[in-house]
């Protein structure tokens, strides 16, 4: 499959994945909400202090659960960044919501927290923050706005496992535990994976009971299994949000290695950051910025090029060297689906990251040698690019490096 020497992403097995899947079969249950699902719920509730966790088939589905739980209805307005995955918006559009998109920050692809308040109207129901690259939004600022206007906050923490926000008082809260609801992804591109998968965190007790019902196709089946009702039936809207034990068993094996995976990913991240410092400065490329109030969970390594030409050249250049780097989201406010629904505001930073951001290969099994090959290649790109932009002074030196 990988025609690239170095793919952008690569799933991996930490050790016990297949053994746990076999165990789920032997145990007699591979549909949802079996013992591995419950182990994962307990793990997250204990390790990260989420009040209630419900594993889902995807982060998309967790976001859809959030939209249902918040009773989002046609005409309700939901505020979220434009620079995000389509599911952040689709989950609320499916319930009839009107989306009000916010621009990204100048110094980070995440949503500009200072531009939220101006979008609030009487119809606003919720703010959905996205912790881009696992790096926290300023949650003190967001929660203050939400509290003042009585709005719900959903944290789209798809990329943010094991990452934290440091409050002004110095206390650190895990991302996904601060808003009323949080959503995670275990897609194969994430730090910890189930192939496809996600999780809803319920941090406000008001939603806990109904969340279980919506999760179980609108039935009170979970209460039935706990012996709280005699028989279960249809009591609410809902869907089949719960994943198979096959996925849960795979995910649990990965979770058991969370510390090891995170250590390795942080080494990879830091090696990119250090190894590319010089070339980025010379070429006017921006490296990731981690605000003081945020931690880094080593989810993703990206560069923000000077312009789309430079970005696309860098991607093509790496591709020629058998390295697959990729761009990321396309601003949702100018998508084909949404452009005629948008209110016309320009969101220049969302567009900037759409056009200029490039993600470098990042996965657990990426070796130091492979990473050095990528870093060296980008340093060579420096020279080609410098030659092109400063042709007069550099031509004699670099002509032999023309590809």
């Amino acid at each position: 499959m990988n025609k690239y020497k170095i793919p952008f992403n690569k799933p991996f097995i930490t050790g016990n994945e297949l053994e746990f899947i076999q165990d789920a079969v032997d145990f007699g249950k591979i549909s949802g909400n079996g013992k591995y699902t419950q182990k994962i719920h307990r793990f997250f509730e204990r390790q990260f202090g989420f009040k209630k966790c419900l594993l889902t088939t995807s982060c998309t589905d967790a976001l859809e659960m959030a939209a249902i739980l918040l009773n989002v209805e046609p005409g309700d307005e939901v505020i979220m960044p434009s620079y995000t995955f389509v599911s952040t918006a689709n989950a609320f559009v499916l319930r009839g919501a009107v989306i009000r998109f916010v621009d990204s920050r100048e110094d980070h692809p995440g949503m500009d927290e200072n531009k939220i308040e101006e979008l609030i109207t009487e119809k606003t129901k919720a703010i959905v923050v996205v912790h881009y690259a696992g790096v926290a939004c300023d949650m003190d600022k967001v929660m203050d706005i939400a509290n003042r206007y009585n709005l719900f906050v959903v944290e789209d923490a798809a990329q943010a496992i094991n990452s934290y926000f440091e409050h002004e008082d110095g206390i650190r809260s895990p991302l996904g535990s601060i808003g009323h609801l949080g959503t995670f992804s275990f897609h194969e591109t994430k730090n910890i994976m189930a192939g496809e998968g996600g999780m809803l965190t319920v941090n406000d007790d008001r939603f806990a009971e109904r969340a279980e019902i919506i999760w179980e196709k609108g039935t009170n089946r979970t209460a039935f299994f706990r012996g709280e009702v005699d028989k279960y039936g249809w009591v609410d809207i809902g869907s089949s949000f719960l994943p198979s034990e096959l996925n849960a068993a795979f995910l649990y094996a990965q979770l058991m290695n969370l510390i090891r995976i995170q250590q390795k990913r942080m080494c990879t991240w830091n090696r990119y950051q250090k190894g590319l410092e010089g070339v980025c400065k010379k070429l006017g490329i921006l490296q990731p910025n981690i605000p003081d109030y945020a931690t880094n969970n080593g989810h993703m390594y990206y560069l923000v090029c000077r312009n789309s030409l430079q970005r696309n050249e860098l991607i093509a250049y790496l591709k020629e060297r058998n390295v697959l780097s990729v761009f990321h989201y396309q601003s949702l406010h100018i998508s084909k689906f949404f452009e005629d629904k948008h209110d016309g505001r320009e969101l220049p930073y969302a567009d900037l990251y759409s056009n200029n951001l490039v993600r470098l290969p990042f996965y657990y099994e990426l070796t130091v040698e492979e990473q050095d090959y990528i870093i060296d290649a980008i340093n060579n790109f420096q020279e080609v690019e410098t030659r092109r932009t400063s042709r007069v002074t550099c031509l004699s030196h670099h002509v032999e490096q023309v590809v």
Copy 2:
């Protein structure tokens, strides 16, 4: 887990499941729409002639795709049986549909095709048929009604893999290929399983392109991978309907053994049918009826008791003998969620099957010895029951068998 000697259901591994999962990891893709997903699509398209297949995370999700594809909007009416799984209805309720429930047939738990037409109004958009126990509804009758009133037909074929409807002209069509759209389940209780899983079949070309978009979160990503567009983006509503390759790899291993699995299941079904014939006649219990126009795919073996007392006693009696038998759906029209939305019609046969139907253990690895144990137990139940209902004549014979 199994405190019962004989559980109601038991997942199984046919041979290559774990090997295929390992292969998917090695191949570098365990998210959705990888090589195993595509193998499964091709298998079903070739083996059963479905025009287009899209694997989903559940049959619920396939039904939700159907509701989105049909543009079901608030106020649209959808006709379906009351005796069905909540997801049949929930998928359409999530889009705002008004559900009009139809009673079951006297001779079968499936929907009474003669009671559909009287429910059609100007607002009716679709008929959803459910092939209960994998046994076809009279699809000639249903399609005739749909054509006359210009309605869409969705076949909820959750239980109906490898089952057929025989048209009046003698031609056999696989279930799921006759309506405009069809949905299947690969839940662990189904003949072929992925833990959780499902599939949408698209039999009307008008829906094919949009189905792919809705499947891929409302993006044209599938067209992008085929090289039909330069970059992909948000073009429609949608969700993350595609399952992980972990589930697809597991399912594909099972599909490779479809013939063997089906042969074994038919033996199990026939053994129940023959072994229980006498006791059922004596106790007034009905055995499954397969109409002339339907085939039997050995999905489920059920009995319809004389009343709920007899049914509940039979379940309790088998439980005491470490055999787990279970009842099935609860009529949706009298559910807590729907009762105040129902139009007040009585649906006596839906209620009859809710109250009187019992499903016996049925899974691939059920041995002949285990099955004979169950059959013998039920024959013993005959004697206990006969004693109780005909106390005067039987007491002297059966007093030693009182439990």
